[in-house]
């Protein structure tokens, strides 16, 4: 049984039919990426999993348990953590308070978890008492991922972790995603930067205007002509 199983999911944004019957699996221990252009429905898919959006039809199951349409705070309680698009850190809270909020679903924040986050992102240790809204974009992205890790998630949803970051920082962040996965966290990664995403992922799905048009092992997608043209910028 896959850890996350999505079947024939249809989600609407108001009147816009954003997801048109997508199906997707994430197995325990994998990094799976969902790539596609702006507005294809990548974020909508993640929000439907985390409970910020309710599907109109179709199912979402976590370890066999239906979670489609469940309130977001309850999904978080089941061990699903999301680092949302645009970071969405709490700007007027300190870095430490942001990390504490990440552990909210688990009850008390574990100092060992915080140490682990600081080991992954030493920059956050230096800024621990700083108001999160005053940090740079890259630091905020680190905080958003670190905050999600504080929940000690079984499934980590990452929405555009490379957005707005310098190429060097993108390399760093993707290295850390690989480390997090190696430490046992299953990852569903949504990215516009298909090259980086496919470099770390085991498998990938390509989404176009709300439909999954292609799925394969990451290496296979990298060789695929359509993917190379549309998402890897080759002529």
């Amino acid at each position: 049984m896959p850890m996350l199983e999505i079947r024939n999911l249809n989600t609407y944004y108001g009147h816009i039919h954003a997801l048109k019957g997508i199906s997707l699996d994430v197995e325990q221990g994998e990094i799976v990426t969902l790539i596609g252009s702006n507005g294809a429905g990548k974020s909508t898919a993640l929000k439907t999993v985390s409970g910020l959006l309710s599907p109109r039809t179709g199912t979402v199951s976590l370890n066999g348990r239906p979670i489609g349409g469940m309130a977001a705070h309850k999904v978080a309680g089941l061990g699903v953590a999301q680092s949302p698009e645009g970071r969405r850190i709490f700007p007027r809270m300190t870095v430490r308070e942001n990390l504490e909020m990440g552990a909210f679903a688990r009850g008390k924040p574990d100092p060992a978890d915080m140490e682990r986050v600081f080991d992954l992102f030493p920059r956050l240790r230096e800024r621990v008492a700083q108001k999160a809204g005053t940090m740079s974009g890259g630091e905020q992205q680190m905080l958003a991922i670190g905050r999600a890790l504080m929940a000690r998630p079984t499934l980590l949803l990452l929405d555009e972790p490379s957005m707005g970051l310098s190429p060097i920082l993108v390399e760093t962040i993707f290295g850390i995603i690989r480390d997090i996965n190696a430490q046992g966290t299953t990852v569903l990664l949504v990215e516009q930067n298909a090259l980086m995403a496919l470099a770390v992922a085991n498998r990938g799905y390509v989404i176009q205007t709300g439909k999954i048009v292609l799925t394969d092992a990451a290496a296979g997608l990298m060789r695929n002509e359509m993917v190379r043209k549309a998402y890897l910028g080759e002529e």
């Binding site: 309130a71 953590a81 007027r92 809270m93 679903a105 809204g133």
Partner: protein, 324 residues
């Protein structure tokens, strides 16, 4: 004419007392606005309900000015707790019945609902204690006493006279403000409230139950209004179904003056308005014979207009300020 320092200090203390009272109410506006961006126009009436319950409880206890000190303090604390609980439940109840259903409706819908509840509560007030002012028993001595603290301790020439009443108001308000600050900044629920105020969706992703957190904000705001209701009852020795209007308006002004959504701003705005109120009601008369209490609302709103012109977000309402 010479500046009368002792008179000024006396009015200043009265101002701080009534300002602390306004601050308690203003915090309710600002807490709720910070978290759901709604001006809760029923808040003044939630305050009035607290005063009415306090009056009823004290009446049932049969207290009067001749009761022993220990029974006055005991009943006062019991009454305070009852008024706080009562107003908290009314405030959270209104949210549960009306505002929660309108959370995703256009802004105007919950606003009109709030105005509606304000009238409903006023009518309940009329049904409860009638349309005329009802007097409260005098529990704290209302007369002025000379406390020559400045003379005795500092050898100053300035003699001040105080009412135990004003000191009592400050004595109840300060611990409540300290408790609220501790709650919002130190407890898990308080931090959840700040998180919801800053980014509701992100807070839900952390596992925070948004509706429960909003209910907590309404409970807290209501409890402070209930405490203020009881304090106002004994401060003015009277309660009336319309008392929530004037206090509510001043408290709302205080919240806006300090920067709506900002807790310290509400306290600062409340104190400022209280002091302006006291000075305009009494002190100014000493120097300008034509001055009187009838000018006070004009002065208070004049201050508001001036602050808004130069700092539209309020005194402490900056982008970096904490909303809840």
């Amino acid at each position: 004419m010479d500046f009368n320092a002792s008179l000024f200090i006396q009015y200043l203390i009265i101002g701080v007392a009534s300002g602390a009272l306004i601050a308690l109410i203003a915090l309710g506006y600002t807490l709720v606005y910070g978290i759901v961006e709604l001006i809760n126009f029923a808040h003044g009436e939630v305050f009035m309900m607290g005063a009415f319950l306090a009056l009823t409880v004290v009446g049932l206890a049969g207290l009067n000015a001749d009761s022993s000190w220990s029974s006055i303090v005991g009943v006062a604390l019991l009454t305070l707790a009852a008024a706080m609980l009562f107003s908290a439940l009314i405030n959270a109840g209104i949210d549960r019945i009306a505002y929660r259903r309108l959370r995703n409706a256009p802004r105007l819908a919950p606003l009109i609902a709030a105005i509606g509840f304000s009238f409903i509560l006023q009518n309940i007030g009329i049904y409860w204690l009638g349309a005329n002012p009802v007097t409260a028993p005098t529990l704290l001595p209302n007369e002025y006493r000379a406390f020559n603290v400045l003379t005795e301790w500092f050898g100053l020439d300035t003699r001040i006279r105080l009412r135990l009443l004003d000191i009592g108001v400050i004595g109840i308000t300060v611990p409540l403000l300290a408790f609220l600050t501790w709650f919002v900044y130190r407890t898990r629920t308080g931090k959840a409230m700040r998180a919801v105020a800053q980014d509701r969706e992100a807070a839900a992703l952390m596992g925070i139950d948004i509706n429960r957190t909003i209910t907590t904000a309404f409970l807290l705001g209501g409890a402070l209004a209930g405490a203020a209701g009881m304090i106002a009852l004994f401060y003015n020795n009277a309660a009336r179904f319309q008392m929530g209007f004037r206090y509510g308006l001043f408290a709302f002004t205080a919240a806006v003056l300090g920067g709506i959504g900002n807790l310290s701003g509400a306290v600062l705005g409340g104190l400022l308005i209280g002091v302006v109120w006291a000075l305009s009601d009494g002190f100014m008369k000493e120097y300008i014979p034509a001055w009187g209490a009838q000018w006070t609302p004009a002065v208070i709103f004049g201050v508001l207009v001036i602050v808004m012109v130069f700092k539209p977000s309020g005194l402490l309402g900056e982008q970096t300020a904490d909303k809840v």
